[in-house]
């Protein structure tokens, strides 16, 4: 009897493995001939899931738009979206799946710089076109000639932040950001620009992500008595920081969030009321239609500012494919580099010699009554 039981159990384990193996085989055959499929690696689960979902919505809108306008090369456009879980290893696995199984000529991704860099390096090695729609680390410039960004990198963002904060009359700042590829990049760029203007960064607190509380960092900020707290954090983490700062009474000091919608996406409204910040614009000067399209499709306002960048990434890839007359990665790369000025939902996009977005229309925003409002200049 015991042996019988053991056998059934063993075969149960085998069946599980078998099911996965079968699904893997089936997945490869699911591609149709009349579709051009691009790939995307996004953080659909994990700490940045709110943003990943918004990035996915941008892709969904772009695919609908491209197909409504006749598709690419007379075929339908599709984007295979894979979850990175916010984890480098899973992001690389997902990119490998897209490249070797789905044979996508273009992969869009990711969001965190620490995941975007290895994914981009892998794609560069494989000769696949990489479009970064959400990371801002300056290291992304060095990935290679197959890599493009539809979002401005930190050197541009840091300068804007420094000018905005300085322009508000703040001179003594503390800096609070995650100790990762993104945080270090934005910190060094902002500090350099702020000190060049004559301001002073009196404390730099790059925090370890994933802590259950940030009181140690916040108490050090309180001790420094700054004019302004310049900060940045991913959704859930920023929510913890904001809640604790609120409890400690630190929210009376002015806060300036870099990518404020990212900082406030998961925070309780009362804890971030009155915060100022810089933002990539949700939409460019002529992008009101994009806000309407988003609202119509998903029945709500933008959750974060990041959906427009994946939208533009898909639109630009589609335009490049049509222009190249081919879905070969090498030809798409040529066409993307030669696309010139592109009127995107997030404003005009032009790539520099390194494939990075040259100018980025940033805005100063404030958080009032549960939503972000554009601050008067």
């Amino acid at each position: 009897m015991a042996r019988m039981n053991g056998m059934t159990r063993r075969s149960a384990g085998g069946a599980l493995l078998g099911a996965v193996a079968l699904a893997m085989l089936g997945g490869g055959a699911a591609l149709a001939q009349d579709t051009v499929t691009l790939g995307a690696v996004l953080p659909l689960s994990g700490a940045s899931a709110t943003i990943g979902e918004d990035q996915r919505r941008g892709i969904e809108l772009a695919v609908e738009k491209v197909n409504a306008d006749g598709g690419v090369l007379g075929r339908k456009l599709a984007v295979a979206v894979e979850d990175s879980g916010g984890r480098a290893q899973s992001a690389i696995d997902a990119a490998r799946k897209l490249v070797s199984v789905s044979k996508t000529p273009v992969v869009i991704g990711e969001y965190s710089s620490g995941n975007t860099i290895p994914v981009g390096q892998y794609l560069q090695r494989e000769g696949i076109v990489h479009i970064n729609p959400g990371s801002s680390s300056p290291v992304i410039k060095t990935i290679g000639d197959r890599s493009f960004s539809t979002i401005g990198l930190d050197d541009v963002a840091g300068k804007f932040t420094a000018q905005a904060v300085y322009g508000m009359g703040h001179r003594k700042a503390v800096f609070l950001a995650p100790n990762n590829a993104y945080g270090q990049g934005v910190y060094s760029e902002t500090k350099a620009a702020f000190e060049a203007l004559g301001g002073q960064v009196v404390a730099n607190l790059l925090y370890t992500e994933g802590q259950s509380n940030y009181r140690r960092e916040l108490q050090r900020i309180a001790a420094a008595k700054p004019d302004v707290i310049i900060y940045s954090g991913y959704g859930q983490e920023a929510a913890t920081i904001n809640r604790e700062a609120f409890e400690l009474g630190l929210s009376k000091t002015p806060w300036f969030g870099i990518y404020l919608s990212m900082c406030t996406a998961d925070s309780r409204p009362e804890t971030v009321e009155g915060q100022m910040g810089m933002e990539v614009n949700y939409v460019g000067p002529d992008g009101a239609w994009y806000r309407d399209a988003y609202k119509k499709k998903f029945g709500k306002e933008f959750a974060t500012t990041f959906s427009g960048y994946t939208y533009d990434a898909v639109m630009m890839a589609a335009a490049a494919i049509n222009k190249a007359g081919s879905a070969e990665p090498a030809k798409i790369r040529e066409a993307l580099a030669a696309l010139g000025d592109y009127a995107g939902a997030t404003g005009p996009i032009a790539f520099d010699a390194q494939g990075q977005r040259k100018t980025q229309p940033y805005i100063v925003v404030s958080y009032k009554g549960g939503e972000l409002k554009t601050a008067a200049k």
Partner: protein, 299 residues
């Protein structure tokens, strides 16, 4: 598709080595090492730094193993007076220390950006040929590691390790030097984990501090526990199962044509429920440890 399957097999072999290492420490020796990823990481970073400096991988890999063995030795010495549970917590802290050093010492480790663009294995080959050569190497090293771990388990040293696991006081009473055993098994396990880490870096051509998060340690633990704690074959089976699950779950979504907004949740849900199901059906793991029967237990 072939290339992706090869990728999954290569990752299985690499994590197989890491799992065999943990199994030797935890399964045979009963040492609750929650810092396994530190040993893996030391090997990974050592290989990355050395190859960046121009050393060819056949020289960098043994150096990475040596560095990780030294790391294991240090972890073993560090908590020699701590009781098992306290030592387990200390290993978790050591792993975080290693990650924080990697995160902050930019000049050596590239900081949060990690070290990329490493000249990997077999740069002369391309595509499938390169993947096959990498797989052959990884499988060979896994086989070597597994055979060595099995052999160790059968020696007098292995028996002392199991005694240490079951009853450390009795082992001491019988005149065995527990600390020496602990240090030795951690150094050997460290070398194995360092080998896995080095291969990982060479294969992906990238290593960053995010790959050393505590989550990764528990992933290796999942492999060992699912496969069967104390059994070398179990560790290999567990590593294959978990790696295949992580890489394979996204295909389930393609097969049943779920909308992509469910992808993230489905992955978390599927992996959780499969791991739970295996543990409920086979609490001892898929390939349980087989102990030699004692005369007294014969019917």
């Amino acid at each position: 598709m072939l290339e992706f399957c090869l990728h999954v097999l290569i990752m299985s072999a690499i994590f197989g080595i890491a799992a065999v290492s943990l199994n030797l420490q935890a399964g045979t020796g009963g040492l609750l090492n929650f810092g396994q990823i530190a040993l893996f990481g030391i090997g990974a970073y050592a290989v990355a730094i050395l190859t960046r400096a121009g050393l060819p991988w056949p020289a960098a890999l043994p150096a990475g193993m040596a560095a990780a063995a030294l790391g294991g030795f240090a972890i073993g010495r560090l908590g020699r007076d701590l009781a098992a549970e306290y030592w387990a917590l200390a290993t978790l802290a050591v792993a975080e220390l290693v990650r924080l050093v990697a995160l902050n010492e930019d000049w050596l480790t590239g900081g949060p950006q990690g070290i990329g663009g490493i000249v990997g294995l077999f740069p002369g080959l391309d595509g499938v040929a390169r993947a096959l050569a990498t797989l052959a190497l990884a499988a060979l090293l896994l086989l070597g590691t597994a055979l060595m771990a099995r052999r160790l388990g059968q020696t007098q040293f292995g028996r002392v390790l199991r005694l240490m696991r079951e009853n450390p006081d009795l082992a001491t009473a019988l005149g065995h030097d527990i600390v020496a055993c602990k240090v030795k098994v951690l150094a050997i396990g460290g070398a194995m984990a360092g080998l896995a880490g080095g291969l990982y870096t060479l294969y992906l051509a990238f290593i960053g501090p995010d790959q050393l998060l505590p989550f990764e340690t528990f992933l290796i633990w999942t492999m060992v526990v699912l496969g069967g704690l104390g059994n070398v074959a179990g560790a290999v089976v567990g590593a294959m199962l978990v790696t295949t699950l992580y890489a394979g779950i996204p295909f389930l979504k393609d097969a049943v044509a779920l909308p992509s907004d469910l992808t993230g949740s489905l992955r978390v849900f599927a992996i959780g429920s499969i791991v739970l199901a295996v543990l409920m059906l086979k609490p001892q793991g898929l390939v349980p440890e087989r102990l030699r029967r004692l005369h007294a237990q014969r019917p």
